[in-house]
């Protein structure tokens, strides 16, 4: 009886479910960014199974060769095939990007959420510590770590991840504060739910959007930083191919063979631009401050 009565009352007259009127922004950016990122991903995937030549094989006779059927993009100063190196070299930036974002998020997100959820005093101290970390240049940290532990992809990932974490923590904190001020967070507290439940069930799903944006931008920063480290000889050690080191190798023959620098430069630019555009597009779509709702 209760059922019948209640159902009839609910069905009456209320307007149909309000449609989400969030504007779907940033779509062209997302498409362009995704396409560029896809190019890099495809290069990495292809290089796993096939490259035109062995990217590490040197050929003293064919040094600085022009593009040909055998060497599509020519060869470098040691006679290595540039096209093959370019393909093989795409794996490192992607790995560093993924590693950096993972390390940065594993450290940054818990710090940010904790800082927002503890009382104001403790939260403030956490964030001041975070500020000090942020003030320390990540590249410098990477150089120090490379000097202490010998240069490797892993040291680069750890150093860049530590550099990324404070920024992530800030974004996570501000997102968490917003979620905590919503009535559904109060309702969860009034339902006797503890901080861990709140963080996992309410905070994380609701800050997911801004975190994805942050990850995409972090990816771009990491790729650029890895190229810089490799260029300085502090990133991925030889003989593994790396865009950054290709730039460095090409620098000495820049005058006579500019193509040796152009190709890796274009590759880095493509990857960074791709992730940045993707990040911007996602921001336009996810950022609640830009949402247009009526």
């Amino acid at each position: 009886m209760t059922t019948d009565r209640a159902q009839t009352t609910a069905a009456q007259s209320e307007p149909p479910a309000a449609r989400s009127s969030r504007r779907r922004g940033g779509t062209p950016l997302i498409i362009t960014g995704s396409a560029l990122v896809a190019v890099v991903l495809l290069m990495a995937a292809v290089s796993l199974v096939w490259t035109p030549q062995d990217p590490t094989a040197t050929d003293a006779v064919n040094r600085l060769a022009s593009p040909s059927a055998e060497h599509w993009l020519g060869t470098d100063g040691l006679g290595r095939d540039i096209a093959s190196m370019l393909l093989a070299g795409s794996r490192v930036p992607l790995m560093v990007g993924l590693g950096t974002v993972t390390v940065g998020f594993l450290i940054g997100v818990p710090i940010g959420i904790t800082a927002a959820m503890t009382d104001r005093g403790a939260g403030m101290w956490i964030m001041r510590g975070n500020d000090i970390l942020q003030a320390f240049p990540a590249l410098l940290l990477a150089i120090v770590l490379a000097a202490v532990f010998s240069p490797s992809t892993l040291t680069a990932i750890i150093a860049l991840g530590l550099g990324l974490a404070p920024g992530v923590a800030r974004v996570a904190r501000s997102g968490t504060l917003q979620v905590l001020s919503r009535e559904y967070s109060l309702a969860a507290r009034a339902a006797g739910r503890g901080p861990l439940y709140l963080a996992v069930r309410h905070v994380l799903p609701n800050i997911r959007g801004i975190l994805i944006v942050q990850a995409s931008v972090g990816f771009a920063i990491a790729i650029l930083a890895e190229a810089a480290l490799s260029y300085l000889g502090l990133g991925t050690p030889p003989p593994a191919a790396s865009w950054g080191r290709m730039l460095q190798d090409g620098q000495s023959v820049l005058q006579i063979a500019p193509l040796t620098v152009l190709w890796p430069g274009a590759a880095v630019a493509t990857a960074v631009l791709g992730f940045n555009l993707l990040g911007d597009g996602l921001r336009d779509r996810f950022d609640p401050r830009m949402e247009v709702s009526r």
Binding site: A6, Q7, T8, T9, E14, A17, Y184, L186, A191, R193
Partner: protein, 603 residues
């Protein structure tokens, strides 16, 4: 300027507003005559605001308006005796033509006084800007600005002209908005829910001011609102819209006393919180007609006719469980009394105080008392209403009662157990015994959680099947289909969301339910349904209800005992009927007097 009353000022013909293939306004036509004050009434989604925005040409991109809106202005920007009357098609006018008219012959007051003024510009400069735009030759605008501010009864206009919007109250800001809108003596003033964001006592003053301004300048008024009471304060003619169509229009006296369309009838009933003559339940859109049609038929036949009304409690209104509460007011001098004192109450509050801020490191801090020594009891099974305007401390009080915040001093006892200062892990019983329904049905449901997860949130350690069973049971009780369980909040309307919030609050079978403005964000017709639902569930679950609202009318309907709060204290408390009929404290009297009445003699 001619003042011929029959002269048309605005003609809307066959106006259609569409978003893609959706028609949001479906071919409406109406005329507005010079000097006339027309209320455009409708609930959310009725298209009233879109109509208004089409007139002033501020529709969102993505929305498309068709038809014609003709503005018969008496002249262009420069007032002069020789200006020819013009007929401007507002829908097809170019931006230049519109700019010359907007803010000059046609102006608008928006709903939200917080965001409608530029926060980085002094109030006087914003006013001056509006005048200068249309009268660029004027030299010193300060006297005119001061005059305008004075005309909207802003104290010390010279000084006020030099402050920033955040230094003013909401009511003052809305007056500044009104002054800006009236600055150039517009022929037509559009007002879109101009007082909805204001407290009732402030609302009353702003409405009076608006009526008076419009009259003295000789403007016409198109007043958009959902509130029938407000309309009757300022308008002479009303147009009632629903689902993008006009359902009824006519002189306000005729429409409000002898409404022709059933929707108008039910809207009036819902606004007045009219109850069914036989069952004592609030009239909703469906039941209103039954009640009116059958008001002379004997109650037993009526019972069967009002099919959506359950065989409700025989007594028309709920009886207080014990002897009527004592009617007390805050004495001008001396300590604060204990209001509504009873033996073994469900909720006991003593000398509760909460201040925000602290003195600060260098003595610059500010201490703001939000709650200043509140003492009262709520008896088991009682429906206790707390009424007050914004900033009176009612939300603070509610957070202290539910232990979402710690008091500065004082005591709260729930079923005899003290609450403040106890760690959360000792309060598991409280979280089950006491639940809250929040105001904003948008904000109180996590958009990323399914309805099942939302409703079952307070259930700790229940198995999947137990949760599912209980959620289904509650969906039935709050009148939502069981298929809702797998859906997400954005798929529901405001009223349905509030039902979900109520279901969540009842899932643990609490003893005490705290409702924070639970119906304030809802349309009037939905409000009646949700209040009926709350009534039923309070019976069914034997709840003690603490109902916080700014709306004395709603509290009067839903509660046995009412406490009126002002500036952090309870100023009056007593049986709802008594407080409403014979308010003893001057503040309560002002509050009661400020309630906009739809019809004389309505409750």
């Amino acid at each position: 300027m001619s003042t011929d009353p029959a002269e048309r000022l605005l003609s809307v013909e066959n106006l259609t507003v569409s978003a893609g293939s959706d028609q949001l306004v479906q071919g409406i036509s109406f005329d507005l005559f010079r000097g006339e004050r027309v209320g455009l009434i409708g609930e959310s989604g009725s298209g009233k605001s879109l109509t208004c925005l089409s007139v002033i040409g501020l529709l969102d991109e993505g929305l498309h308006a068709e038809g014609s809106i003709t503005f018969h202005t008496s002249g262009a920007a420069e007032p002069g005796p020789e200006t020819e009357p013009q007929h401007v098609d507002l829908l097809n006018a170019d931006e230049n033509q519109l700019s010359a008219i907007r803010g000059n012959r046609l102006s608008m007051v928006f709903q939200e006084p917080m965001t409608a003024l530029n926060p980085l510009m002094k109030v006087g400069d914003q006013l001056a800007e509006v005048i200068r735009l249309h009268h660029p030759k004027t030299k010193d605008l300060r006297p005119r600005v001061a005059e305008l501010l004075a005309s909207v009864q802003i104290p010390d206009p010279q000084r006020t002209a030099t402050v920033y919007p955040h230094q003013m109250s909401g009511g003052q800001r809305q007056r500044v908005m009104l002054a800006m809108a009236m600055a150039n003596g517009p022929e037509l003033l559009l007002a879109d829910e101009p007082t909805t964001a204001l407290d009732v006592t402030v609302q009353k003053r702003v409405l009076n001011l608006m009526a008076q301004q419009v009259e003295s300048v000789g403007s016409s008024l198109l007043f958009i609102t959902h509130d029938l009471g407000v309309v009757s304060e300022v308008c002479d003619r009303v147009i009632i819209m629903r689902h993008g169509r006009i359902v009824e229009s006519g002189p306000i006296d005729r429409v409000f006393t002898a409404p022709e369309h059933p929707y108008t009838r039910s809207l009036l009933a819902a606004s007045d919180l009219e109850t069914h003559p036989a069952t004592g339940r609030l009239l909703t859109l469906e039941t209103a007609d039954d009640a009116h049609a059958a008001s002379d038929t004997p109650p037993d036949t009526l019972e069967s006719r009002a099919e959506s009304v359950s065989p409700a409690p025989a007594s028309p209104a709920h009886e207080p469980p014990q002897a009527a509460a004592e009617h007390l007011t805050l004495p001008a001098e001396g300590g604060t009394p204990v209001f509504n004192a009873v033996h073994s109450p469900a909720l006991r509050v003593r000398d509760l105080t909460r201040t925000y801020g602290k003195p600060g490191l260098f003595g610059r801090g500010m201490v703001v008392p939000a709650l200043r020594g509140v003492s009262f009891d709520v008896a088991v099974g009682q429906r206790f209403g707390i009424v007050g305007e914004s900033g009176c401390g009612k939300s603070t009080l509610l957070r202290l009662l539910t232990k979402l915040d710690e008091p500065t001093s004082g005591q709260v006892e729930v079923n005899g157990e003290p609450i403040p200062g106890r760690p959360e892990r000792q309060l598991r019983w409280l979280r089950e015994a006491m639940q809250i329904v929040f105001q904003d049905p948008m904000g109180s449901l996590d958009p990323r959680m399914s309805v099942t997860d939302i409703i079952a949130e307070p259930l700790h350690g229940a198995s999947r099947s137990q949760r599912g069973a209980r959620v289904n049971e509650l969906l039935d009780q709050v009148g939502l289909p069981r298929s809702s369980a797998e859906k997400y909040p954005h798929e529901f309307s405001g009223g349905q969301r509030q039902r979900i919030a109520i279901a969540r609050a009842l899932v643990t079978r609490p003893k005490i339910l705290v409702a924070d403005e639970a119906v304030s964000a809802l349309d009037v017709s939905v409000r009646a349904q949700v209040l009926n639902l709350l009534d039923d569930l309070v019976e069914e679950y034997n709840l003690t209800l603490v109902f916080v609202s700014h709306d004395l009318n709603v509290v009067h309907h839903s509660c046995d005992v009412v406490a009126v709060m002002s500036a952090g204290r309870i100023v009056e408390c007593g049986p709802a009927e008594t407080v409403m009929r014979t308010p003893a404290h001057p503040y309560t009297a002002e509050l009661v007097a400020a309630i906009p009445r739809v019809r004389e003699g309505a409750p």
